[in-house]
């Protein structure tokens, strides 16, 4: 069991390293990469924005009931923005992407393997790894930080709507309070860490899809493993990355 787990970790690591190396070597699959940007980025946009907005509303409802007791409801906007910039936006966007994109990648590649489409690409003298894996890894790595920005924005907007309904707080004042005391270091490092999440989600999902050889059962396993393992790895990586951010930006840890 333990041996098998280490074996899998080793193979996924090598797979991810190969994706990184091949991403830097021509030929670059520009046309197919754009297709992946569209499918992963544009395809996830509504899910991310709707989830961010709903989460923003719910977060404000919860924090309001607590902060009102201490007469600190004026702090709600900045609580909201800090929570979204630092943790909620990056982590929830990554978990949503693991669910939507990870499962899709795992199932699609496993189906392509089962129906000999990957073999067919190889017989056409086209590097299937570059075409199918590298493009998806790049697309996820680039698109997740962008989607996180939209999630943050939607969360803050949701918070504003909730606050406006509860206390008739105006847009300008809400935004002033939301960004009062928020430094770039609160926004940039946590957003950039999602590039690592995107890389991990794509690498793990591609690994399970691309390397399966169990037919239709392999498709099921690849889809399940892609979501479960990539979600778990994202959460574990978050712990490490937050520690790294605190180390590099000590003010954040206070």
């Amino acid at each position: 069991m333990l041996k098998s787990a280490f074996d899998s970790i080793g193979r996924v690591t090598l797979f991810g390293a190969q994706a990184l190396r091949d991403a830097c070597v021509p030929p670059f699959e520009g046309e197919y990469l754009l297709k992946q940007f569209y499918e992963i980025g544009v395809g996830s946009f509504l899910l991310i924005v709707a989830s961010g907005f709903a989460l923003g509303v719910v977060m404000t409802l919860h924090t309001r009931s607590t902060l009102v007791q201490f007469g600190a409801e004026a702090e709600i906007p900045v609580f909201q923005s800090l929570a979204f910039f630092n943790e909620l936006g990056p982590l929830v966007a990554a978990l949503l992407m693991a669910g939507r994109v990870g499962a899709g990648i795992g199932a699609q590649l496993a189906n392509m393997r089962a129906t000999e489409q990957i073999d067919a690409i190889e017989t056409l003298s086209v590097d299937s790894f570059k075409l199918l894996v590298v493009t998806r890894v790049i697309a996820c790595t680039v698109m997740l930080p962008l989607l996180t920005i939209f999630m943050d924005a939607a969360g803050i907007l949701g918070g504003f709507v909730s606050e406006n309904v509860a206390s008739h707080l105006g847009w300008t004042l809400y935004m002033q309070r939301a960004f009062d005391g928020v430094a770039l270091a609160d926004f940039i490092p946590p957003t950039l860490k999602t590039a690592v999440f995107g890389y991990l989600i794509a690498t793990i999902s591609c690994f399970y899809g691309y390397t399966t050889n169990e037919g239709s059962d392999g498709v099921r396993k690849a889809a399940t493993n892609s979501v479960v393992i990539s979600s778990l790895v994202v959460i574990l990586a978050d712990v490490i990355l937050v520690k790294c951010i605190f180390f590099l930006f000590p003010d954040q840890a206070i």
């Binding site: 046309e31 129906t115 489409q117 017989t123 056409l124 086209v126």
Partner: protein, 245 residues
């Protein structure tokens, strides 16, 4: 150096301890069509996959255009594959691409200097050759089994290969559609002098196309020769494979 584009020398291949090919040797001459016959699970498709390097032999040599497939690196393998086309049993069309995009994929990748117009012209030509000129913008899921096979054949031929490998061209098709695919293969062989290796259960089609038969049983090459040579053998077991019913 052999003139034969495909040579098998004492090839052995097994999976999970079970021998699928056992010391198989034969060669296919340039422009010749070889049909591999035999029961299911006797290693016919494995033979094709060894030829194109999707599998590696455990022992023995697979030589394609005088290159030892086991000794080639990825780049070398790709160079050899450029001379080959492969029609899969299921056609294996890329299901998220249109039929035209399926044909354009290798053209784009293998010659990046080709203009879009030139690629479109080649794609149209390829589709016309198999009678699918009006179906280029359809997704594979919108095609019938026979049309998918024809699209797969067009994709296998789009790079003008010297060698065409065909896995079960008649499988899942009715007699008339299977016959249409056979006619396309005969046309390709005649017009382009393409060397062909065809794995099939359809003896009627095999007799139309093949210059030679290879009969495999339990991983061994049981018989190899022209249809006439094999017909003349007084072997009842062999006759059940090669006699038209």
């Amino acid at each position: 150096m052999s003139d034969a584009p495909i040579v098998f020398e004492q090839v052995e291949k097994g999976f999970s301890g079970r021998a699928v090919l056992d010391k198989v040797s034969f060669s296919v001459a340039r422009g010749e069509a070889l049909c591999i016959l035999g029961r299911s699970g006797t290693g016919k498709s494995v033979t094709l996959k060894l030829m194109i390097g999707l599998l590696q032999a455990d022992n023995g040599k697979v030589l394609v255009c005088n290159e030892d497939m086991a000794a080639l690196d990825e780049d070398g393998l790709m160079k050899v594959r450029r001379k080959m086309g492969y029609l899969f049993q299921s056609a294996a069309l890329f299901d998220s691409f249109t039929v035209a995009e399926n044909l354009a994929l290798p053209l784009h990748r293998l010659d990046r200097n080709k203009s879009p117009d030139e690629i479109k012209r080649k794609v149209d030509e390829g589709l016309r050759e198999v009678g699918l000129e009006k179906d280029g913008q359809k997704l594979p899921s919108a095609l019938s089994g026979g049309m998918q096979k024809r699209a797969g054949l067009a994709r296998a031929l789009v790079l003008q290969p010297e060698i065409l490998l065909v896995d079960e061209p008649a499988s899942g098709l009715d007699r008339i559609t299977a016959s249409e695919i056979d006619d396309l293969l005969i046309k390709v062989k005649k017009e382009r002098q393409t060397t062909m290796v065809i794995v099939t259960h359809d003896i009627h089609g095999a007799r139309k196309i093949a210059d030679k038969f290879a009969v495999l049983d339990q991983g061994r090459l049981l018989a190899f020769g022209t249809p006439e040579e094999l017909d003349s053998r007084n072997d009842q077991w062999l006759q059940q494979f090669i006699a038209e019913r």
